[in-house]
């Protein structure tokens, strides 16, 4: 218990230090666009309260990254009428870390700590929304849409990238994968938990464009 408290105190101290720093370190290590089968790029981003979150802190756990914009109709559909809240709650209940990342630039749709905190409250989201105002983390991961989802296995390897499902706005896109609904992320997490191959591991994301800086 004492060591846990000490670790917490140290973490707070470190977070405080990071926030106090005038010129924060780059949010993500430089390198080529992330690829499925390769190590997931490390990053550190602030949440809506300004607390820093790093991917490295979740080493040894399965992590889902969900590119997020609370004012994008595809995101709104997934939360208001779709299956995303239940999906996220189910998997976080099983120890999966679910990080939403908003790479919208200042002044763009769905940007900023107040709006994203409001979305957390309105949709009762568990876990933070991380703010990537420069778009550096989004560009490093090749995030193109909201939603755009990534699954990272406990070893830190990117094992899935793409769409939430094959049903944009709830309507199955028959031109891509036939007529049956497929929940790609749910299937990937299930396969990962069962030690099976993830197939497909790469799908075409759909949705609003990520609102990167001009």
């Amino acid at each position: 218990m004492t060591s846990t408290l000490a670790a917490l105190a140290l973490a707070c101290l470190l977070a405080g230090t990071a926030r106090a720093a005038d010129a924060p370190a780059a949010p993500v290590e430089a390198g080529p666009v992330a690829q499925v089968g390769q190590p997931a790029p490390a990053f550190t981003l602030p949440d809506t309260a300004g607390t820093a979150h790093s991917l490295a802190a979740h080493a040894g756990k399965t992590v889902v990254l969900e590119w997020f914009n609370p004012d994008c109709p595809f995101v709104k559909h997934a939360y208001d009428t779709g299956l995303l809240p239940g999906l996220a709650a189910t998997w976080t209940g099983q120890g999966v870390v679910w990080l939403r990342i908003n790479s919208g630039a200042p002044g763009k749709q769905g940007h900023g700590a107040p709006r994203n905190q409001q979305a957390i409250d309105a949709w009762s989201l568990q876990g933070p929304v991380l703010l990537d105002e420069t778009g550096a983390v989004g560009q490093r991961y090749g995030a193109k849409t909201t939603p755009h989802l990534y699954v990272i296995d406990p070893a830190g390897t990117l094992v899935y990238a793409g769409a939430l499902d094959n049903a944009p706005l709830g309507k199955v896109d028959g031109a891509v994968d036939g007529t049956a609904r497929i929940d790609y992320v749910h299937a990937a997490l299930g396969a990962l938990g069962a030690g099976k191959a993830i197939d497909p591991s790469l799908t075409r994301p759909y949705g609003c464009s990520v609102k990167y800086p001009d």
Partner: protein, 233 residues
């Protein structure tokens, strides 16, 4: 007020005002998109959603959409989209069955309208009555039909599928979603003009095609390059 109403107006049109048994005709979904906004082609690119149209009538067979050439639209962050601004008409080939009389065509169109800072999905119910009678052309779709990309087959070659476009220099290639997921496409200069090469990585799904659009000012020449039908056993 429905905020999408002003963004996109959808109308179902016919190449002919009346129909008779065995007749071939075109149906057309005309979308009038508000200035500054766009809707998407079959393959929307880095984001977006394909426009869809489904129409049906008892006694009428309707083929898949024949898309006009899309425009390449840039978005911040190095993202690219493929779609349409202003007015666009999606054509559907149709055939009247032998026993058919008057046709009540109904259907639905869905689209995603976007501008730089936001996207709004929209849909419209479509209806068109085509009385039985002598096939009088309406002229409503003439311009859209004339602007259709020219069909040309891709022929199997040693290193994939090829199509030769003589006298053409500078092409944008637009692979459909079904083709983009299964193949790499490239345009190579040739002594005669341009050679389009399609290198499949997997079996393309039915309907896989690409549009090749000549660079330069509008109206730009365009080709609809389709895969040869599978050989019958």
């Amino acid at each position: 007020m429905d905020p999408t109403a002003a963004l996109v107006t959808a109308t179902l049109l016919s190449s002919h005002a009346a129909v008779s048994p065995g007749q071939e005709l075109w149906l057309g979904l005309r979308l009038e998109v508000a200035p500054g906004w766009h809707v998407y082609w079959d393959n929307p690119g880095d984001s977006g959603l394909p426009t869809t149209v489904e129409v049906a009538a008892p006694g009428l067979r309707v083929g898949p959409v024949r898309w006009p050439a899309p425009a390449l639209l840039a978005a911040p962050g190095g993202l690219w989209n493929q779609g349409y601004e202003g007015e666009v008409t999606l054509l559907l080939p149709a055939w009247v069955e032998d026993e058919a009389q008057e046709l009540q065509v109904t259907g639905e169109a869905r689209w995603l309208a976007c501008r730089a800072d936001q996207c709004i999905p929209g849909q419209a119910a479509l209806a068109l009555r085509l009385p039985a009678g002598a096939a009088a052309p309406t002229g409503a779709l003439d311009a859209a039909i004339a602007a259709l990309p020219t069909p040309a087959p891709l022929s199997p070659g040693a290193d994939g599928l090829r199509a030769s476009l003589p006298g053409v220099e500078g092409l944008h290639l637009f692979p459909s979603r079904a083709l983009a997921d299964a193949a790499t496409v490239q345009a190579l200069p040739s002594p005669e003009g341009t050679e389009v090469v399609v290198s499949p990585r997997a079996e393309p799904a039915p309907g896989a095609h690409l549009l090749a659009v000549a660079e330069g000012p509008a109206p730009r020449r365009a080709w609809y390059l389709y895969l040869p039908p599978p050989e019958s056993p």
